[in-house]
């Protein structure tokens, strides 16, 4: 009886400790796709994004070094980082700070796939704007995977350029975020 009670308390403590955990990875990925029907080149992925998820509070944060978005074409990468576009010498990172707005939609202690609402502030090119999206959280043992897709308006982040007007870069690129916490 004593042993059962001990195991019960132990499992509760373990669950509680797990529920409070702040998970961090330095290998989250963010991809953006600004391709159009006349230009298939403006798309890139950054595989070294720093991300955190606090399972108790639902706080989520991302930090991405702009220069580590890898393009296939050197000229496009040069334009992307240049003063006329992301100006990555001045604005070295893009960040997101937000939270899961309804934590009842996910159980971090139970395996499964959960769809959760997320909102927060996205800062790109030194400009901050509110963002609301839906994220998918997959719990598989100790591994928690999160992903989300949404689009942004480049105009909101004061990213301008002739290529947007000429239809070579999408005005509303799609962003895909993936973070695996082990």
């Amino acid at each position: 009886m004593k042993k059962t009670a001990f195991l019960f308390v132990l499992s509760l403590v373990t669950c509680f400790a797990f529920a409070q955990k702040k998970l961090v990875t330095t290998s989250a990925t963010i991809s953006f796709d600004a391709t159009t029907s006349i230009d298939a080149l403006p798309k890139a992925t950054n595989k070294t994004v720093i991300a955190s998820l606090a399972t108790k509070t639902g706080d989520i944060a991302f930090e991405a070094a702009i220069k580590n978005f890898a393009f296939t074409n050197p000229k496009i990468q040069e334009h992307f980082n240049g003063e006329g576009w992301m100006n990555s010498d001045k604005f070295a990172t893009a960040t997101f700070k937000g939270k899961i707005t309804d934590l009842t939609k996910v159980n971090f202690s139970k395996n499964g796939s959960y769809s959760v609402p997320v909102s927060g502030t996205l800062m790109i090119h030194g400009e901050s704007n509110p963002v609301t999206s839906t994220a998918t959280i997959v719990v598989e043992g100790k591994k928690i995977s999160t992903s989300s897709n949404f689009s942004i308006a480049l105009e909101d982040y004061k990213v301008k350029g002739g290529a947007i007007g000429a239809g070579k870069v999408a005005k509303n690129p799609t962003i895909t975020v993936q973070a695996d916490f082990n």
Partner: protein
């Protein structure tokens, strides 16, 4: 006269189209074959960024660098693996994302391995999440591995 104008215009148009096609088809060189602009040791390199991030960024950003050091961890990044060299005292680190044709090399690297990795340096940033600084690399390839 008309014929000359027509030929000139045609040549200019052809050159313009050739230029556009050339730029659209540009691709990054194979990192394994690129010559390194700098050859550095991981801990010295990390300290250089920690000492003066602005200066180090000016010196190393977008340069091809060959880094030697001990692998502190490997991390799953979507379907691929990133390699990390971390200063355990400060938490500052270098992280390497591999070039597409060399993704398999990253999977053969283990924690504790002494390696030389070459790639394009994307510079250093300070992370508010980690409260430490990091230097990231893209298009990397494994040059040497000593267990």
């Amino acid at each position: 006269m008309r014929k000359k104008v027509f030929i000139t215009l045609f040549v200019l148009l052809a050159l313009g189209i050739a230029g556009i096609v050339y730029v659209f088809n540009l691709k990054y060189a194979d990192s394994k074959k690129e010559t390194a602009d700098f050859t550095v040791n991981a801990s010295t390199f990390i300290n250089e960024f920690a000492g003066d991030n602005t200066l180090a960024n000016k010196k190393y950003s977008e340069k091809i660098i060959s880094v030697s050091g001990r692998v502190s961890s490997t991390e799953q990044a979507d379907t691929t693996i990133n390699i990390k060299m971390e200063d355990s005292t400060t938490g500052n680190y270098i992280i390497f994302a591999f070039q597409n044709q060399y993704l398999k090399e990253a999977k053969q690297i283990n924690e504790g391995d002494s390696v030389v990795i070459k790639g394009s340096c994307s510079g250093g940033i300070y992370s508010e999440i980690l409260e430490s600084s990091s230097v990231s690399f893209k298009r990397c390839t494994l040059m040497e591995k000593v267990k």
